[in-house]
Symmetry: C2
Subunit: 230 residues, 2 copies
Amino acid sequence: MVNGGKRSGRPRAGEERLSRDAILTAALGIVDDEGIDALTMRRLAATLKVNPMSLYHHLPNKAAVLAGLAELVFAGLELPDPGDAVPWDEQLKQAARAYRDGLRQHPNLALQVLSDASAVSDVVVVTMEPFYRALDRAGLAPREIFEAANTLIDFIHGFSLGEASVRAETFELAPDLLTRVRALPAHKAPTLSRIVNDLGADGLAYDFDSGFESGLSTLTAGIAATVRRR
Amino acid sequence: MVNGGKRSGRPRAGEERLSRDAILTAALGIVDDEGIDALTMRRLAATLKVNPMSLYHHLPNKAAVLAGLAELVFAGLELPDPGDAVPWDEQLKQAARAYRDGLRQHPNLALQVLSDASAVSDVVVVTMEPFYRALDRAGLAPREIFEAANTLIDFIHGFSLGEASVRAETFELAPDLLTRVRALPAHKAPTLSRIVNDLGADGLAYDFDSGFESGLSTLTAGIAATVRRR
DNA sequence: TCCTTATCCATACGTTGTACGATTATGTAC
DNA sequence: GTACATAATCGTACAACGTATGGATAAGGA
């Protein structure tokens, strides 16, 4: 045994260094600190002071690590429920804001989380309860509730994806839509050019927060219209 | 030269086998046929009957290949514009449907396309013109047009992401939301459970197309509410 | 003609995910 | 206690990956 002091073989009881949770927590740390590309099985093992192959006793492969991370992020979500103290649309908005905030906590994982359909575990399902409660209070039919919830969630996902993508582009200052449109020959997109130039007059800088609020307002107004039609 | 018949060095005029476009087209074929993971520089070179390193004369690295693919997909988009022949909301919906259809043409690329912010090239910007035209006709203020367009696009992105993710899960039959909720202890999400069970009575199977239409209707209704408030 | 530049090829390096098998401890059955 | 299946770790090794470096050949302008 030319093992440099390291022990090989099963650790003594209580001395196990690994567990699924410990591995995922370490992985989350790496991703948060250094980005998703920094997460390699070797790096992860080194962080845990363990041989790379030991990880495979707890997780079948790297894909499982990534899926586990997505699961972790969802598990960390906590959507508030103000209950009947506020109107249904405000209740819905609060849940939506909390959902977006949860996704923003780990921006380097956004892509993984949003695209991992297998992360649709019980955790995720339970997360949606507040949306359903608010929509139920609004007085929609079951099918309408289902569809409205999906629409809202899709909007949040799309918004979060955009937000995460732009933030990830650190190596090149994000060429934002506004400046790009101004550089465009107007005849290729006349309406777009005119609108964006009008905007520029107001000295507008795009702001994610107000963009999100605007989307929420449009959606709740649309849902309210459905309610009124009944 | 132990070169097995292959010529090395610059090809004769008119015999060039590579170009940025040829490479990207081949790459798109691989991704469409076998998924994004099948796309390696070596595989791509083999498809083109070329040495892997030759690719680097036309594209700086693999990331550039992926970005180029995203660009290709956007370039393939064609949003119709029925013009004033239909109401503004129908005009808006038609553009949205075309946009979704375009993204669906290459499901294996959806994630790449949607997350590649640098794909926001002139092509993408021009693509948005029909949205702006419809919203302009609706009678919104510039800022409202800008925000409504973003909201609609975010919804389409989120929807497409979900659609692509589910379809990609071929190795495991997608455990869809409905069946999963039914297996859930009701007390963990009472409203959700009740709603979904009511849905089940109708024998509902989730359908992406109707889900998309529902989202479009909610959004246009919300935008119409903004118009009315002016 | 000479020189620069464009296009393609061969070799090679470091890194990655992980298959395989060895090693040591635990927990259960006798 | 002794035997044995199982669990947790480590060491070695391999194929595949992206790409750096440098060489070969031809194109095209000076």
